[in-house]
Symmetry: C2
Subunit: 228 residues, 2 copies
DNA sequence: CGGAGCATTGAATTGCATCAAGGCACGTGG
DNA sequence: CCACGTGCCTTGATGCAATTCAATGCTCCG
């Protein structure tokens, strides 16, 4: 809930959010779709939009590619997250799986009817979209105000509430991403990520146990960096 | 609708969005609040949240201040826009008037009841929040991928659909903002804005008729810059 | 069959030269 | 007076190329 990256909080699955009856109504229009591996494209930017998706299992990356071919990762999505934002009937971004994924596909027209018919279900959707908006605003602050070290600190602190990627005992984060993914998310180069990691290690803030395994040595310093 | 800054599109006023009956229901919980000048704070970051606002007249700036004291303008709001995003019952950002403003104040609890009671009204809200999310995603792309010139071009193109600030005949934009506001929005310094304006003028893309009055000399070039 | 050693490949890291943007001080103009 | 504009210097981040590292699969041998 507090996380910007999305890696922090373990969001509720669909089946905890609604009453059994509401779930049944939603399931009436739902198709379950599975993607077995990483790098599967669920939908691509500018493709005609015919459905909204609700993520049930796995991690999805929301991204857009600029004309120069640079990829910007807009956010990472987890179980319980909605995606499928479109404009003039075409999707605004590309969604790619980072892990095996299971999604609920909600075709637009029936969904709209359902939302109008059941205001409670709609309120769940409204809440989710508002949460996304809050996260996007935070990302704007990070990209606008923070230097590379601070961005990295924000990114890392996004993990400390995660069961899946953070071991509170050992204070160890296991990154599910490559350096280049982190770079594309924080809008810096991969080299800058590496250099900042090195600086933070030299400053005693963290310790790289292997490229993807990072021990937080000084949580206070990390949090201070992350908050600007 | 296509604008990122918000200065482009003349959004619908509340009174065009709903049926008379729905408008009446909304008015039942609404207080009209007026701010007579610029620089009035409607609410401040971290203040307890008790209402959502709907802008009826004027321009509002949504911003947040980082710990180092740097202001980041997140977006500009116009008639028809919703604001008042909060988390744990406290507002996430500060809203300040840029012009005289009239807002509809919608207290949270009655609003929530109304949204649950009337799914059509709620759908208007959902649509607005989704639009905001789309704009935020675009701003993330701009901050992440564009250099100063490109950001400025994006900003300027945001005006070309506006009745209020763009004269299509003369191809002239009248900026309602200071250099420092543009800088805080685009996450660069005021000096960089000035230098980029100069470069664009030297390149024949635009012409500064006065600091706030800018003639677009080569719209194609501007649009090309803006799209990366 | 299982495990040690080796090859292969993509990822991570480093050094160095370069540059876009920032910071500051000062001048200008409405 | 406040906002805008300019010149000069500094610097954080980048781009590129080279090097190291790590994970995976493969072979071969006990």
């Amino acid at each position: 809930m507090d996380s910007i990256t999305g890696f922090g909080h373990n969001r509720s699955r669909l089946d905890r959010l609604l009453t059994p009856e509401q779930r049944a109504r939603l399931q009436g229009i739902t198709t379950v779709v599975c993607y077995p591996a990483r790098d599967c494209v669920i939908y691509a930017e500018k493709q005609p939009a015919d459905a909204i998706y609700l993520l049930n299992r796995g991690i999805v990356e929301l991204s857009s590619v600029s004309r120069q071919g640079e990829k910007q990762i807009i956010s990472f999505l987890h179980a319980g997250d909605l995606f499928g934002l479109f404009e003039r009937n075409c999707y605004c971004s590309t969604t790619t799986t980072l892990t095996p994924v299971e999604v609920y596909r909600l075709p637009l027209e029936p969904l709209k009817e359902l939302l109008v018919a059941d205001a409670r279900i709609q309120l769940e959707f409204l809440t989710k979209v508002a949460d996304d908006l809050r996260r996007s605003h935070r990302q704007i602050l990070v990209l606008g105000q923070h230097n590379v070290q601070q961005r990295l600190a924000v990114f890392l602190t996004g993990f400390i509430q995660s069961d899946q990627f953070y071991d509170p005992q050992a204070q160890v984060i296991t990154l599910p991403l490559r350096r280049s993914d982190i770079a594309n998310y924080l809008a810096v180069t991969q080299e800058s990520i590496v250099r900042s990691l090195k600086q933070l290690e030299a400053a005693g803030v963290l310790e790289r146990q292997s490229p993807k395994v990072i021990r937080i040595a000084d949580m206070g310093a990390l949090l201070r960096l992350a908050s600007g």
